[in-house]
């Protein structure tokens, strides 16, 4: 047993207290939102300070939000964007990462250079906007998927993972008569499953969170993803398109909207956490 000095004991106490305090600060806002969403509007308005339990229990905020126009179509659209987008991004990213990871592919350095350059320099928001319009994606739900198919950082991570697979596996498959497409689908992708799970999560979260592109490219309300509907509900100060009914919404209803939209994430989060953490490490190796 190591002897501890008074200074160390004092530090330990301070450290535990500080970290507990920090945890409360991280958790409390979410808890506050949950409690406020379950409150009655009158008592909630009158309530001051921390909210440890609902101020007059009521489900009415949830009833309002469940009937809010756009919330369910938003949910449906987001579900489609997340599911289809993640699969599509994963497919295109792995397809590109495989040739780029192969020593024997002479053009790979040229393509890597061209791809890395896009991380350093870009044409900017306006030229990009014009291109997306010109290719006919304006007011299409695919404008949220196709223009962001590949995230270059993710591509580089996948490429690094593929490059770490021993070439002897490929060689033996080649002797057995497999071509590059079969090697890609049957050997490389299954062997990198762990990394791909992490990348799938990264893509999924990015699609789930995206609202800005939707706000630029989508005009038809029934195509809006959930985050855009949420912005309409939560952020009424928007100076260009503040809806009239949003002004009337009580705080409780806004909080209910937050809970309804965040519950799926918070429910799966504890199970996915370790993959995310692993992903940070993978990214760190790259850097």
């Amino acid at each position: 047993m190591i002897k501890r000095s008074k200074g160390e004991i004092a530090f330990n106490i301070f450290n535990i207290l500080f970290l507990t305090f920090l945890s409360i600060i991280c958790l409390y806002p979410i808890y506050h939102v949950l409690m406020a969403s379950l409150s009655e509007s009158g008592p909630l308005l009158a309530h001051q300070g921390l909210l440890l339990w609902p101020a007059g229990f009521s489900w009415s905020s949830y009833r309002v939000i469940m009937n809010y126009p756009g919330i369910w179509t938003g949910y449906g659209n987001t579900l489609f964007i997340v599911l289809f987008g993640t699969c599509f991004s994963l497919l295109i990213t792995t397809m590109a990462a495989y040739p780029l990871s192969r020593q024997g592919f002479p053009a790979r350095n040229f393509f890597m250079l061209a791809i890395t350059f896009t991380m350093i320099f870009n044409g900017g928001l306006i030229p990009r906007f014009l291109v997306i319009r010109d290719v006919g994606l304006y007011d299409s739900i695919f404008s949220l998927i196709i223009p962001v198919t590949i995230n270059t950082t993710n591509l580089i991570i996948v490429r690094t993972a593929f490059a770490a697979i021993p070439p002897s596996l490929e060689e033996s498959a080649k002797i057995d008569g497999a071509n590059d497409l079969i090697i890609y689908a049957r050997i490389i992708v299954p062997l990198a499953k762990a990394t791909l799970a992490v990348i799938a999560l990264y893509y999924g979260v990015a699609y789930w969170n995206s609202w800005f592109t939707a706000s630029i490219y989508l005009r038809t309300r029934t195509k809006f993803p959930l985050q855009l509907i949420l912005r309409e509900i939560l952020i009424a100060n928007d100076n260009n398109q503040a809806g009239t009914d949003t002004e009337l919404m009580s705080e409780g209803i806004k909080y209910a909207a937050i809970i309804v939209s965040t519950i799926p994430i918070l429910c799966v989060y504890p199970f996915l956490q370790k993959y995310f953490v692993k992903g940070v490490m993978i990214g760190a190796v790259k850097e």
Partner: protein, 313 residues
């Protein structure tokens, strides 16, 4: 079995390309969607950036629009907004680095000193949580808490101060932006440092203990030097992105009364270009920002190579 190198005998370039395409046909096939993606969504916009030097009208097309040279850049540099936008961008980003960058390092160091593993894991899980809340929702929470009858004002009132509309006051914008960012990312950001700490050789600690070092000395002489390379690399990355600050959060949080401190170059590009349709002018402002950004990134990378012996590219 490595693909055979192209033969040394001089062939015409065309023939060599054809041969490469034939031997690597599957490679190109797999790469094709990605090539299309990068050409259309990254290189076309680079080509289109020339509208910054033209008076662009959609009906006339890029090449049909009149070439006006540096006109839009001059308008921007001479405008009242130029100094304000550059100052706001640099200050918001700079303060964000000064306060936001050390926070996860400190958290990682404190977590490393916790001996009770269950407590440590709980703190980690809880502090990672805000990272998983979407930006729209976290900004929505901030806005709700900042209202006159919101939680922050309840706390302010509890201490006997007057309630303030925080989001309507231009002097509070940066604080709110940076503090909410720390709230959301401090736990998540600490992961990378914790993993760097776990990679430090345990023998160093044992040797230090035998020499009579206490825990503070261990932290200052082993842990911090051990994660210094990670810190330096991440800091360089952050500084390299000084000008490419996320504008989505600013767009969600700012309003007319805070624009004086909150408006940054990228949000200005958005309001002038997308909302008001002044494509050429906005493209010029954006191009200015992109070029500064590129120069910054490349010089920071160069410094990193000099100091650390390795850069990012």
């Amino acid at each position: 079995m490595a693909t055979p190198k192209p033969t040394v005998r001089k062939k015409s370039l065309g023939k060599r390309i054809l041969k490469d395409l034939a031997t690597n046909k599957y490679n190109y096939l797999l790469l094709l969607p990605a090539i299309l993606y990068y050409v259309v969504f990254h290189y076309f916009p680079m080509y289109g950036a020339q509208i910054a030097f033209r008076d662009f009208y959609i009906t006339k097309g890029i090449l049909g629009s009149k070439w006006v040279g540096w006109k839009h850049f001059q308008t921007f540099f001479n405008s009242f907004y130029f100094g304000r936008l550059v100052r706001n961008t640099v200050l918001l980003s700079g303060y964000n680095i000064i306060f936001g960058f050390p926070a996860p390092i400190i958290l990682a160091l404190l977590l490393n000193e916790v001996r009770n593993q269950a407590f440590k894991r709980t703190v980690q899980t809880v502090t990672y949580l805000p990272h998983f809340i979407s930006l729209v929702v976290s900004c929505g929470i901030v806005i709700s808490f900042c209202r006159l009858n919101g939680l922050f004002n309840d706390i302010v009132a509890f201490f006997g101060k007057e309630r303030i509309l925080f989001l309507e006051k231009k002097e509070y914008f940066r604080t709110i932006y940076i503090a909410s960012g720390i709230w959301q990312e401090v736990g998540w950001g600490s992961i990378i440092y914790l993993s760097a700490i776990s990679a430090i050789d345990m023998q160093l600690y044992e040797a230090a203990r035998i020499d009579g070092a206490n825990r503070f000395q261990e932290a200052f002489h082993i842990t911090i030097p051990g994660i210094l390379p990670t810190i330096v690399i991440l800091l360089i990355l952050r500084v390299g992105r000084l000008m490419s600050l996320g504008y989505e959060k600013v767009l969600l949080l700012y309003n007319d009364s805070t624009r004086e401190t909150a408006d940054i170059i990228s949000t200005y590009v958005y309001t002038r270009g997308i909302q008001k349709g002044e494509y050429s002018f906005a493209a010029a402002v954006d191009l200015f920002n992109s070029v500064i950004n590129m120069v910054l990134l490349l010089s920071v990378n160069w410094i990193s190579k000099k100091v650390q012996g390795s850069g990012l590219f």
